[in-house]
């Protein structure tokens, strides 16, 4: 099982703030890597740095053997990354259909892929011609994820998909992510909700203060409450 994405010694500055302070992280092919950590640890910045939205000031990022840290965002995206930002960033002025048309970069929408997406996101079919701005928060999240998977991508970067969603919708999202996994996708998933992490994570990396503090596999962390306390105590408290 090879490493699809590797970050080595990545530093990122935003203005005069030094956010990432030497991040080393790998995402293995065909597996879901959970990026955990408390608020402000640098998880979102890590994903944005991978996408080139906040370029790394030093360090290397390698995707499938190619260095990408110096590329512009569109070039990084076309190398096969689907990105679901924390803000969902659906184009609210456009319809659901138009959002997906833009996400399907290489050509017309593929009916089979759409049918697969509609299986677990029926709302998108229902509101196909409505403008995305009129969708509910959960539906916007579904649309944002659908945009990332409307065409096959090597790697999915998903930033806190369950944030602010009702428990019932979180359940549906877990099912959906599990289904995407089953199709063999490689996912780097930022999550604060440990239940979600436990349900779909294979590997885990815990961040704090702009560095990776712990890496291992999910079952180990899930079984070891002492480890959880140690690395995630703050984050779990913050969630209750």
């Amino acid at each position: 099982m090879s490493d699809l994405l590797t970050l080595a010694g990545v530093h990122t500055h935003i203005g005069r703030y030094h956010i990432l302070q030497g991040v080393d992280l790998t995402a293995r092919e065909g597996r879901t890597t959970m990026l955990l950590g408390r608020n402000g640890a640098g998880k979102t910045t890590t994903l944005r740095t991978i996408m080139g939205l906040w370029p790394a000031s030093s360090g290397t990022i390698t995707l499938a053997g190619t260095r990408i840290e110096a590329l512009a965002t569109p070039d990084i995206a076309t190398r096969g990354i689907g990105y679901v930002p924390e803000t969902m960033a659906v184009f609210s002025d456009l319809t659901v259909k138009e959002n997906l048309i833009l996400a399907a970069r290489t050509g017309p929408l593929d009916d089979a892929q759409l049918a697969w997406i509609f299986q677990f996101f029926p709302a998108l079919k229902k509101f196909w011609l409505s403008s995305a701005g009129t969708l509910s928060g959960g539906q916007k999240q579904m649309l944002s994820i659908a945009r990332a998977i409307v065409e096959p991508r090597k790697l999915l970067l998903i930033d806190e998909p369950t944030k602010g969603l009702a428990p019932a919708i979180v359940g549906a999202l877990i099912d959906c992510l599990a289904e995407i996994k089953r199709r063999g996708a490689t996912i780097l998933l930022v999550e604060q909700n440990f239940r979600v992490a436990e349900a779909i994570g294979d590997d885990v990396a815990v961040m704090d203060n702009g560095r990776i503090m712990y890496t291992g596999d999910m079952p180990t962390l899930a079984a070891n409450t002492a480890l959880q306390e140690h690395f995630l105590g703050l984050s779990l408290e913050a969630h209750q």
Binding site: L94, N99, W128
Partner: protein, 336 residues
């Protein structure tokens, strides 16, 4: 795709038609105030024609701002350059211009307009690459640099063509008016309205029916996400900038013919009107820009008729009134 028609759509939020109704209301209010039906028609047609021409000039500016957050104070340069370049074409085509046949006239106007658009568009590309690219994302420097660009362009026109006004007579078949009873409608104004409508409808079609249009609309809302989907927004922006400049050039030719004279300072002078229009419309909104342009033209024409002294500041008063009502313009663009 067609088999995936929606089974049902969400209830759309009620369409915001109040701004769109404003010009109509204004025209109706003017009806009893204008004294006679014929002067009302004349004023209204004048307003619509003037508004459409302003829209043609302003539409590019509003999109450029919406897409890349670039405030181009040099947009007026393209207007003046377009008008001056057209005179180059009118020279050799003078015979067709003076002819009384509409076809001959159009045979002169069309190449002149296309030439103006081509040169303005090319100048726009240079402007974007040389002046705006290095100060991208810095509003203060953008304003200063593009202002400098406007001055240099204006002064170059003076240096090349001399400081005097250049007459630009209307072609033969477009002089005079259509007479319907006691109502007279200037022929050129009808042409201006037709061209303006074509540009407006064309812009809306492109924005709503093509993938490039979808990208522009999406980019106005969230440029970062469009890039994260793998599209080069910078290249898209250059395209929009060039088209916007070309339209400004076309507007310059039309405005020059409307006034029957051109002057190198026309770009700078019109810039003020254009700023008022894009502010009123909501920066980034093409529909808002269209309505704003018509409102500004109506206030200028109606105001000039009712209270000539007031017309001097009527645009400012209109802008203040609209911004009091909607601080971000008639159709504020989301995310700004």
């Amino acid at each position: 795709m067609s088999e995936l028609a929606a089974d049902e759509a969400l209830p759309e939020p009620p369409r915001d038609i109040v701004p769109a109704a404003l010009p109509i209301v204004l025209a109706l209010v003017m009806l009893p105030l204008s004294g006679s039906a014929s002067s009302w028609v004349t004023l209204t047609v004048a307003s619509l024609a003037m508004g459409m021409m302003i829209f043609i000039m302003a539409s590019g500016l509003t999109l450029v701002f919406g897409l890349m957050d670039v405030l181009n104070f040099g947009h007026g340069a393209f207007i003046a350059v377009g008008a001056y370049v057209a005179t180059l074409a009118f020279g050799p085509l003078a015979a067709w211009m003076q002819s009384d046949s509409l076809l001959d006239n159009l045979a002169a106007l069309l190449p002149a307009g296309l030439l103006a658009m081509a040169v303005s568009g090319a100048l726009g590309a240079v402007f974007e690459r040389v002046l705006i690219l290095p100060v991208y994302g810095q509003h203060l420097k953008q304003i200063l640099i593009t202002m400098g660009g406007l001055i240099v362009a204006e002064q170059s026109l003076y240096a090349l063509w001399g400081p005097q006004q250049i007459p630009l007579p209307l072609p033969g078949a477009l002089r005079g008016s259509f007479i319907l009873g006691d109502i007279a409608i200037a022929k050129y104004r009808v042409l201006a309205m037709v061209v303006g409508l074509v540009v407006f409808v064309g812009t809306l079609l492109v924005l709503n029916r093509t993938k490039v249009g979808l990208l522009i609309r999406a980019g106005v809302e969230n440029r970062e996400m469009v890039e994260a989907l793998g599209y080069r927004v910078r290249r898209l922006f250059l395209g929009v900038f060039m088209v916007g400049s070309a339209l400004a050039g076309l507007g310059g030719v039309m405005w020059g013919l409307y006034r029957e004279q051109i002057h190198a300072s026309m770009g700078g002078d019109l810039m003020i009107l254009i700023f008022i229009v894009v502010i009123i419309g909501g920066l980034g909104s093409v529909t808002g820009c269209f309505i704003g342009a018509i409102l500004v033209a109506m206030v200028a024409n109606y105001g000039g008729f009712l209270l000539p002294k007031l017309a001097l500041v009527s645009n400012i008063l209109l802008m203040v009134a609209i911004l009091m009502w909607r601080p971000r313009g008639l159709y504020p663009v989301t995310n700004r």
